[in-house]
Assembly symmetry: C2
Homo-oligomer: 394 residues x 2
């Protein structure tokens, strides 16, 4: 990673050093990515660093806002791309991933872009086949059913197998032209293990949970395999242009305090520590969905931001995490089905709960395919306007 | 309800008054159920009232234990009944419901029986068709999609539409011969509304959650309709022989603190207050699954027992609910996939978390169809042995 430390920390006003060959940008970067000593991608200066400053715990003039799954099926322009390209084709083609990543940025006054990808690229990199079945979600034709199946896993060359995400990040950040920072992300080991064992979505993920009791040592082996890849993957994302990282433990809510401490927390810690060893200044967000029991212990890790789903009371969460952590969240995505004035009232309630500082406004989970884009706009604009007003008043 | 107050409070040693005609028991009761002044069913004296004493907050010599969904597909003898009868046929035929209710009691040293039924009998009573699709779960061919669909609901005669459950309770309690107390139950209004709108199980129940924001007044109408029926239904269950009641808000975890306060809590309160107005001595359990945010407010209601799912830390829950409430739970059902010695260790951890009093041991959710009955036995026996030891030591 030598020579790349400066990339992606996203300081406003950081001018790109002169770099011959950058004119033909993305193609050039792609071919040289494997030789970071020879080439460091440079990017236009960042014009809006509100999210990064907030994530670092600095006092800010307004609450930054973005939306999980802000690029996606609720946008007609995304549907248009998908009408011609399969889901994983979009993920694996940097030009397409960049295009859909920028769609919500072109449409709404958001404070961040998040790279269009999927958490299941990690199991894919480990050699597991994953299909996206229309209307059903992810499907593993050959899930990891027994500990013996772990022998099927490969040790991936992260640059080879996940280079498309790095390329997508670099290209998108160039095309962003510094408007907002670029978020990279990964699934967390437990969540990825749950999908890999269950073979897709599931009512209660009992096969995966059964492993924790039946095969605890094999589970740890599996989790460690994924952790090692995730660290390299996230470091690579920062090298490629990501300025902030989020780790999604979407199925943390299936665990309890004891199983979380054993099978989730140590790996989440390894990830933040491993990434920060390479990129100490890149803020990192952890989202352990449906796991309020995890808040206190997450606050003791090196994650800068703790993301809350909509079931958590912001004030109760603040009591648990203490004053230091920045919180992210947490409007119920279903609140966007309400009439615009009701959405504004819900935003007001949310902002009042979090207070005017150390908060990144977001939904408590991702956008739904049947959301009205105009209602997403109401949410984003309401956060901007109301959070500015909160500071004027106070 | 005049004349029936004495039924079902389950005091040990309460002798059945002489009652001519009771000899031919169940058939007699069934024909007289509509005239409670003329006939009050009487039952054999209760020999094990440990659960009832614990639920009332009394100090006990051992921790009582039962398992949610203890009658069900994991038992070969249940499978045998189901090989000849459809799910709702078993629910609607008192002799069959009684038979499967007693199966786990005959097999394991449990401290309670819970009537075999389904929470969806309430939407059925309101006129909604519900099928149980093998391997998929419940399915509503005509779900409640819009507020206009509420006009399709009927005002049921609870005795007519749900009398089969009352009959099953009476028959089962007779056949129980006082071995353990009989638990009755109902789904909670929000959970039943979620199923009725979604038309069955769902990934995120977003149609139902959308109602809370799009049609809040219609949602309240729907919830109130269900609440009124539930109160009458639970009162009727006690009249028929239930000695303890549990209200299952299985989808409380889809709500947040604010929507819970508006759309769940008021109806849960009406239920406990309405039932206790008729039967003040019947202990009532509330199970708001995946809703730790709800614990504090539930502790302020008249429910005697608060049931915890496996994601909640017993000690953290105790801090939230205070000293008064009895807690129930909460072993991860998936822990029953572990080897027997590991199950015993998990039980030890659970019992240590709850302490030796004011605790009803249970799973954090229901048994799974692929559980090994022998492992259920390990759980039940471990609770009995270890909780007795805890009291000897302390």
């Amino acid at each position: 990673m030598a020579g790349t430390e400066a990339i992606g920390d996203g300081d406003v006003g950081e001018e790109a050093p002169a770099n011959e060959g950058f004119a033909n940008g993305y193609t050039f970067f792609r071919s040289f990515r494997h030789e970071p000593e020879c080439f460091v991608p440079t990017f236009p200066p960042l014009q809006n660093d509100l999210l990064l400053r907030t994530a670092r715990g600095e006092a800010t003039e307004r609450t930054p806002v973005w939306m999980m799954r802000q690029a996606g099926r609720y946008l007609p322009e995304y549907q248009e791309v998908r009408s011609e390209h399969a889901f994983f084709d979009v993920v694996q083609t940097p030009e397409l991933a960049a295009e859909v990543t920028l769609q919500p940025i072109d449409r709404f006054p958001l404070d961040a872009a998040i790279i269009f990808s999927d958490i299941l690229v990690i199991p894919q990199a480990l050699g597991l086949e994953v299909e996206m079945v229309s209307g059903k979600g992810p499907h593993f034709p050959n899930p990891v059913e027994t500990p013996g199946d772990l022998e099927r896993l490969v040790d991936p060359d992260v640059d080879d197998t996940l280079g498309h995400v790095f390329d997508a990040l670099t290209l998108t950040r160039q095309e962003l032209e510094g408007r907002v920072p670029m978020i990279g992300f990964s699934g967390a080991p437990w969540t990825l293990m749950a999908y890999s064992i269950e073979g897709g979505g599931s009512k209660n993920y009992k096969q995966a949970r059964a492993w924790l009791y039946r095969h605890p040592e094999a589970a740890k082996t599996f989790l460690q395999r994924m952790t090692d890849v995730i660290v390299e993957y996230l470091v690579g994302q920062v090298d490629a242009g990501a300025q902030l990282l989020q780790v999604f433990d979407s199925w943390a809510g299936l665990l309890g305090p004891k199983t979380f401490r054993t099978f989730a927390l140590p790996y989440l810690e390894q990830i933040v520590d491993g990434v920060k060893a390479e990129h100490p200044d890149v803020p990192m967000i952890v989202f352990a969905k449906d796991a309020p029991y995890a808040l206190e212990s997450l606050a003791e890790t090196a994650y800068d931001v703790i993301s809350l789903d909509w079931t958590m009371d912001p004030q109760a969460a603040r009591l648990l995490v203490g004053e230091k952590a920045v919180l992210q969240g947490n409007l119920d995505p279903c609140a966007l089905y309400a009439a615009p004035d009701d959405i504004r009232r819900e935003v007001q309630h949310m902002l009042a709960g979090f207070g005017s500082q150390k908060h990144i406004a977001n939904l408590g989970h991702g956008m739904h395919p049947d959301h009205d884009p105009d209602h997403a706009r109401v949410f984003v604009e309401a956060v901007r306007e109301q959070s500015e007003q909160m500071r004027t008043v106070s």
